[in-house]
């Protein structure tokens, strides 16, 4: 009798659980809480823009040079999550801090697009097909150097070429640049962007 009741309860609960799974975003990484590192960092950036915030934020891009191009590139994007930490000296953070992120990228669905490993830097770029649910798609870039690391996670249908072409269109004068043997980093930003709005950290 008890077993019957349990089965009935499960049958009733199953439809309730379905919407939760439908809203899950497989393209979104569960980024660790780096608040312990924030105090040690010279610069840190913590940006979490979900779908509604992206819509709100994109309304303020109309006047910028790359506004129209950005809106085009953001079509299908459902979230942008960025963590940047830059330290005064090397080895303040360890690769173990990023291991959790890299481990998630080994899950089925994520495909490695490219990887660069040298003494000084470790760059990984992954992409995930969206499948049926657009939020299941995404891009992840993890870049680590001895004194800084960057995690970029874009959820949704991402057009990498359109995103790449946005470079330099916003007139942002200075920001950490690193990875894949790119240009040498410009001076540290004198005015880092506003801290993200209060909300649950991922």
């Amino acid at each position: 009798m008890k077993v019957r009741h349990m089965l009935a309860a499960l049958a009733l609960a199953a439809p309730l659980a379905m919407p939760l799974t439908a809203f899950a975003q497989a393209g979104r990484l569960q980024l660790p809480d780096f608040s312990g590192l924030a105090g040690k960092a010279k610069e840190s950036v913590d940006i979490s823009l979900d779908g509604s915030m992206l819509q709100t934020a994109s309304q303020f891009m109309g006047g910028t040079e790359g506004g129209a191009a950005a809106k085009d590139a953001l079509q299908g994007v459902e979230g942008i999550y960025i963590r940047v930490f830059e330290f005064d000296k090397p080895n303040v953070y360890s690769q173990a801090d990023l291991a959790g992120v890299r481990h998630q990228l080994e899950a089925p669905g994520w495909k490695k697009l490219m990887s660069v490993q040298s003494k000084e830097e470790h760059v990984d770029m992954f992409m995930r097909d969206r499948g049926r649910n657009p939020a299941d798609g995404g891009v992840a870039i993890v870049i680590s150097e001895p004194s800084q690391f960057v995690i970029v996670n874009i959820v949704g249908n991402v057009d990498l070429e359109k995103l790449r072409q946005l470079q330099g269109k916003f007139g942002v004068p200075a920001m950490p640049s690193m990875g894949a043997g790119g240009a040498s980093p410009p001076p540290a930003p004198s005015a880092p962007p506003a801290p993200p709005p209060p909300g649950p950290r991922t």
């Binding site: 709100t56 891009m61 995103l163 470079q167």
Partner: protein
Amino acid sequence: MSLEDRLRHALRRVEPDDDFAARVLARLDAAPRRAPPAYRPASQWALAASVLMAIFMAAGAGVVVQQQRERVRSEAAGRQLVYALELTSRELGNIHQHIGRRAEESGS
């Protein structure tokens, strides 16, 4: 005269003079008139209107403050988005360059 007779004399019915009513009316006319009482209902309406106005003003101010906060939050989100796109596009550019260099090296 006994007490009873004195009382009876004192309490006997006395008819007023013929001009008694006229004299009373004349004295009433001569008496100074009092000012009419303040119109209370009007003051009560004024008080109610003031309270309502204060409530509306407070509510309006609350809405303005809320809108201002929302605007500041949206602008901050806009700046973050610009930063995020700039950073992402730059890193993608670096990766693109790196892939190009690697292709050239393997080709040569």
